[in-house]
């Protein structure tokens, strides 16, 4: 054992790298599209956080609106519908009285959960400006929430991850899939969520850019 064995082993490792690979499952177009999508979601999440703060500071109570007020609320929310692109995550737990399906209902986990990120920012202010870490697109039955950040703590740096898995949920592998959702309070005090889930390996989500418009159009009628 020792140096000689280590040398043999490292020599074998150096020559054992695979020389062939199956065709790539993604191309430049997939990368650019996913990047643009992630950037748009990031902006929406930031806007959603601002909108949530405005709602709380303004003392707006969701879910008790009369028809007129409800229409106004729906209208306001419709204007910010893209803020809810990540569905559940952009809605503070105490701000949305209507029942909104959470990520567990779709079986998909937000890659970077804005709601969880906000909670983390409160609990650990130094990471408030941390950059999101790269994480693969995952989807798992039963739901869950997660956030992964590239963080620096003095000379130490790394990835800080917070993962929430609901009690009793099975632990299993995920699979690449994308999802998006837009939602809005409705005129009757309810809540409409428009969700689109990708079924393609590329993660492209059907009608993603139109989800907010659809939610805004439906809200005054429901």
């Amino acid at each position: 054992m020792g140096e000689t064995n280590d040398q043999d082993l490292t020599d074998m490792l150096r020559t054992a790298a695979p020389t062939t690979a199956p065709p790539a499952g993604f191309g430049i177009d997939d990368v650019v599209r996913a990047s643009q999508k992630a950037t748009a979601r990031r902006r929406s999440a930031v806007a959603g956080g601002v909108a949530a703060v405005v709602l709380v500071l303004g003392g707006v109570t969701v879910g008790i609106a009369a028809t007129g007020g409800g229409a106004e609320t729906a209208s306001s929310a419709a204007g910010g519908a893209p803020n809810l692109e990540r569905g559940d995550a952009a809605v503070p737990p105490n701000a949305a009285a209507p029942t909104v399906p959470g990520p567990s209902d779709t079986g998909c986990v937000p890659m970077q959960d804005p709601g969880l990120r906000a909670l983390l920012n409160e609990a650990l202010p130094p990471v408030a400006n941390a950059r999101e870490a790269a994480v693969p697109m995952v989807c798992k039955q039963g739901g869950g929430r997660e956030v992964a950040l590239e963080v620096d703590d003095g000379p130490a740096h790394g990835v800080l991850s917070v993962v929430f898995t609901p009690a009793g949920e099975p632990v299993e592998d995920g699979q690449p899939v994308g999802w998006a959702r837009a939602g809005s309070p409705t005129a009757s005090g309810g809540y409409v969520a428009v969700t689109s889930v990708s079924d393609s390996d590329s993660g492209a989500i059907p009608f993603e850019s139109q989800l907010a418009t659809v939610a805004s159009a439906l809200a005054p009628r429901l």
Binding site: M1, N5, D6, D8, L9, T10, M12, L13, R14, T15, A16, A17, P18, A21, P22, A24, G25, F26, I28, D30, V31, V32, A34, S35, A38, T39, R131, A133, A134, V135, P136, M137, V138, K140, G144, E146, A148, E150, H157, G158, V159, S161, V163, T165, P170, V171, E172, D173, G174, P176
Partner: protein
């Protein structure tokens, strides 16, 4: 991004995609997951391309992608629903008749690598497959050079234990 930046990114992507995929495969042992990780790394790179490409050094780009890739893979292994399970059951080594065969050796090593803890595996992959020195490996993993050295030692020990007696069959006939 403007057109020239997109073009630069596309050229870098074309030049590095297979290398990044291969590294990811060696880390996770599965081409589908390797593609997920590789794509995630390139997506992250694209998002930060304007800032990173300004450094005008392809080695900086390589280091950034490598670091992002490793964090993605290592971090994934910590997720509850994808947490890797280590077992005392060592995968069977390649049959003796396959000794000396490059493909069998590769498959045996890749299989054995999967039983090495993720951080140690990352060190082995970067140092011996990607041929990085200790300093570059430390940079990619965001740790000290001392940690790389100790993780290398532990990783090789874990790999040797995973290979068991099969290690003798893997040595090239001499």
């Amino acid at each position: 991004m403007d057109t020239s930046a997109e073009q630069e990114f596309a050229e870098y992507f074309d030049a590095r995609r297979d290398t990044v995929r291969r590294t990811a495969f060696l880390m996770c042992g599965d081409w589908h997951r390797a593609d997920d990780h590789a794509q995630a790394a390139f997506v992250a790179l694209h998002r930060h391309w304007r800032r990173i490409r300004g450094r005008d050094d392809v080695r900086v780009l390589d280091a950034w992608v490598r670091r992002t890739l490793m964090r993605s893979v290592v971090d994934e292994s910590r997720r509850p629903w994808r947490r890797e399970r280590f077992t005392s059951e060592v995968p069977d080594a390649a049959p003796a008749r396959d000794a000396g065969d490059g493909v069998a050796t590769r498959e045996t090593l890749v299989t054995a690598l999967r039983s090495v803890p993720s951080r140690q595996r990352a060190v082995l992959v970067l140092r011996y497959f990607d041929d990085l020195d200790v300093a570059a490996t430390a940079e990619a993993l965001g740790c000290s050079e001392g940690t790389v050295k100790s993780q290398t030692s532990h990783g090789l020990a874990a790999l040797r234990a995973a290979l068991g007696d099969g290690i003798d069959d893997l040595r090239p006939a001499g």
